[in-house]
Symmetry: C2
Subunit: 540 residues, 2 copies
């Protein structure tokens, strides 16, 4: 493959810069037409993307296609799937790893892109199925012979956000009685609140850490162990591990079962590995977890399509870059009209911002353009009664990605004033998209809506395990494509290291001052010690 190229070195870049100066104004009368709404539509793996309300036209779309082609994004995506060492910075010390999260779900065909990784994924799935079978059949119970009803997932970052988002989204498909709880924060109040209200004798604990050394996770594991011991329960009969093979946590004496995660899957891309699998399998059953994988795999395949009009993740990636780098909008709101997706945006914050919140390219040079945007959002219609005021009338333009479903999950919807709640929900979604684009003139300046605020609608029939898997993979692919276009390494996270180092230094002070009341850290760490002193955290 040719060497990776910066966004601003692609021929299409200057073309797009020039097109941005005359980008269509969505609020122009008669610009939005029935025909445009119908034609600006793409489809991938059960999801429709409606993008008529983006500031795009045929010329700009053609130029974005050229940008994608010049950047060789599909070629890079295929290389990634096959096992290229994509997690690296040329010429510099770095992680140097393959990036194979797609292999977790590349288990449905005879010719997976990377046979070795898919084989490992299948082996773990088989172990999981056996574990779930034992739980279902009652051959694996607690010491009193009662079935396990609850599971606590202890993990942080990728071992928490993706799994948690999926669990909330899939709660409607849960197997009666089985519930998941999450402990992530090192704040003791997070764990203590949960441990104090559960019947631990019927609760499994799933400890998730690839390295087996994550500070927060190990600490919370100990907090949980202490709670089990206090109740006279043996942690080794309740605790399960998801970790790297050979990590300090890979120890059959300490865990009921160990499932493996591999170093070619980054935390924020790991929801479809055992990181999400053990917990989702417990809550939803093996079949439903496999449906999630099937949806993700179908989207992974759809994302191989070179024509951007037939590739939703790629079209969203390019539209995002159009809004961010060419129209100059700094943030992105993702607004799902589905209560099930209440934590999906929090997952995306990690997946997107930790992947592409970078300043140096894959050759170790600082880039001179903006990379990953600030991504934020809450479900509609809740958001409409919260921050939409700013999106409609604020001084900054906030591009929006709406997500919706034609039908809801639970039975029991009711008709009030001739429409169901689900109809009210989707009507609001469509209305917001049009309102942001069209705006509304008014003599009263306080009731004036400028419009021309770009947005798109992503829609599927229903939030099911299959569509949840597809949605997860859609955003993963979008993020990976944007990383290719910006020429950044979307798979490491060196930016989190400095805080860890400084925190360790402060913890050393805290430990030292307990042992020696006259301890003074100012000579070794003037600033850290001074900040501890100023904030009242030193003993003297």
């Amino acid at each position: 493959m040719a060497p990776y190229t910066n966004l601003d070195k692609q021929p299409a870049f200057t073309q797009l810069q020039s097109l941005a100066t005359t980008a269509p104004d969505l609020s122009t009368p008669d610009f939005l037409t029935a025909l445009r709404l119908q034609e600006y539509h793409a489809h991938s793996a059960g999801f429709d993307l409606f993008f008529a309300t983006q500031r795009l036209d045929e010329t700009i779309l053609a130029s974005l296609q050229e940008l994608a082609d010049q950047s060789k994004v599909i070629e890079q995506f295929l290389a990634l799937k096959k096992g290229a060492v994509m997690n690296r910075i040329e010429g510099w010390d770095c992680e140097n790893r393959k990036v194979l999260h797609t292999a977790c779900r590349d288990i449905f065909s005879k010719n997976p892109h990377n046979p070795e990784a898919s084989k490992q994924a299948k082996a773990e799935l088989k172990k999981l199925a056996a574990f779930l079978m034992e739980l279902d059949q009652g051959t694996l119970t607690n010491d009193q012979g009662s079935p396990f009803t609850d599971m606590i997932q202890i993990g942080i970052g990728g071992s928490d956000l993706g799994p948690r988002a999926l669990y909330h989204a899939m709660a409607a498909y849960g197997r009666g009685g089985r519930k998941i709880h999450f402990i992530s924060n090192v704040d003791p109040d997070d764990g203590l609140a949960i441990l104090s209200r559960l019947d631990l004798s019927r609760t499994l604990v799933n400890v998730v850490s690839k390295s087996g050394t994550t500070l927060e996770t190990l600490t919370n594991e100990e907090l949980a162990k202490a709670a089990y011991l206090k109740k006279g329960l043996d942690p080794a009969r309740h605790f399960v591990a998801v970790t790297g093979q050979g990590s300090p946590m890979d120890d059959p004496h300490k865990y009921l079962r160990s499932f493996y995660m591999f170093d070619y899957i980054g935390g924020r891309y790991s929801a479809t590995s055992m990181v999400g699998g053990v917990m989702l399998g417990f809550a939803l059953g093996d079949e439903n977890f496999r449906e999630i994988l099937r949806g993700a795999h179908d989207m992974d395949q759809a994302a191989e399509e070179p024509n951007i009009r037939n590739n939703v993740p790629l079209l969203m990636a390019l539209t995002g870059i159009w809004n961010h780098n060419f129209l100059g909008h700094e943030t992105l709101a993702v607004l799902p009209y589905s209560q099930g997706l209440i934590r999906f945006t929090a997952h995306l914050q990690q997946c997107d911002m930790e992947s592409n919140g970078k300043s140096c390219n894959r050759q170790g040079e600082f880039v001179s353009y903006q990379t990953g945007p600030v991504l934020w959002g809450e479900p509609g219609t809740n958001g409409q009664h919260a921050f939409y005021q700013l999106i409609h009338q604020g001084t900054a333009i906030i591009p929006v990605e709406f997500i919706g479903f034609r039908t809801n999950q639970y039975d029991g919807d009711i008709t009030i004033k001739k429409t169901t709640s689900q109809e009210k929900l989707t009507a609001n979604l469509l209305a917001q998209s049009l309102a942001l684009a069209s705006g509304q003139h008014s003599a009263n300046p306080n009731r004036f809506f400028g419009g021309n605020r770009p947005n798109s609608i992503l829609m599927a029939d229903r939030l099911t395990p299959y569509s949840m898997g597809a949605l997860l993979a859609l955003y993963e692919a979008k993020i990976v494509f944007q990383g290719f276009l910006w020429n950044v390494n979307s798979f490491d996270q060196e930016g989190v290291q400095l805080g860890k180092i400084l925190a360790t230094r402060l913890l050393d002070h805290m430990a030292a001052q307990k042992e020696d009341e006259s301890y003074d850290g100012s000579s070794t760490d003037a600033l850290g010690w001074a900040l501890m002193k100023a904030t009242g955290l030193t003993k003297k």
Copy 2:
């Protein structure tokens, strides 16, 4: 009072613009000193603000003080408290209301700023105390004589976000067994999931809507009523109302009790009125709710201090404007190091962005500077494993407001590797602040941290009802001060109206096509109907 003036018309504005070109660089060696960390410290009502890691110096602070004085923010704040009609746009049709949320908690002195409003607040508090007494003493029970154990709060926007944030923050102070659940979204899955898993016979429902006409709330009330009727339970024996006097919901035949909210309190500022009071009183007891009010009141008083070095909310308001309007940073991350504050940022998103996401000033003229920023965040240390990568190494600068507490809420913290979880939490907080400011040089560009990323730390001893009230009022005052400085009306929300109008039109189509299969909405609403058709929501 003199007429309100735009930010860019204040003499201090040009001075600050010029100071911004030479603003101090926090990453300059020896710029951050122990002395600076100690001296850049303010205190109000139990909260310390450490702002050494903002790009401020004595000259800039003096200029910000001048800006505050020239904008007469304290004078306006006092006028607001006394009952000036602050919710208005001069010369234009608008809400024309007083803004008296501070009166809800101005109940501790003999001379409240607005005696009439404080009297009304006290009357509602008395009704609430009587209601809670009946529940406690068992004179008010369900039809079987059993006590109520749960409450569902049905409300949206201000009737949901503030109360929900406070409930999560105060769960540690809950009265054994009493739990609150929330239904807000018109998505039927929100309500159905909750209604299906509760013992409704022991559950109260608190319906909150000032107008008594909020679409989402009325719909969810009907959804809840249907669930009660299905179980053979009489809603009138379970449902409580918080609404405006004389609203359609003010009906003793339909509700066990009605509590009043007044039109001089905006939804997003209403958490300390009965909107939060009924639910918090049920969960925490009357005493704890009054402690929240006491904390809020103390902060309201502290916010009257004209010297910005002694007024935390005002100093934070000015620092926010310095970062946003002068240094050009578009967003603001609020990152609480406390799991209890998990929904506090979502509350702030409404309170801040709905208040100040405006483009026209209080004289009805469009302003030519940026107003309210995009505010976002999740609790640390979770966020550290999610989006902090972008905050440390991304191409955009994200100002940060950290919030922390010296001690945690629950008993049972444990020591691992010589430090407690709470120590690990606070060490991480302090470390992040220093890391963002100082940065770190490295030959490896991927391990280079530019630093100079402005942030501050807000710290109190513990998250208690008192400090929660103070924190709530702190941000309310900060937001109000910023509105004064930007010269916008922080108390209306005209920007939410257009979406409502368009949604109603779409709902009419949805209703009509059910009654008449040949219905075609294209003649009356070409775009709306076309979008319904494109997204597959028309019948034909």
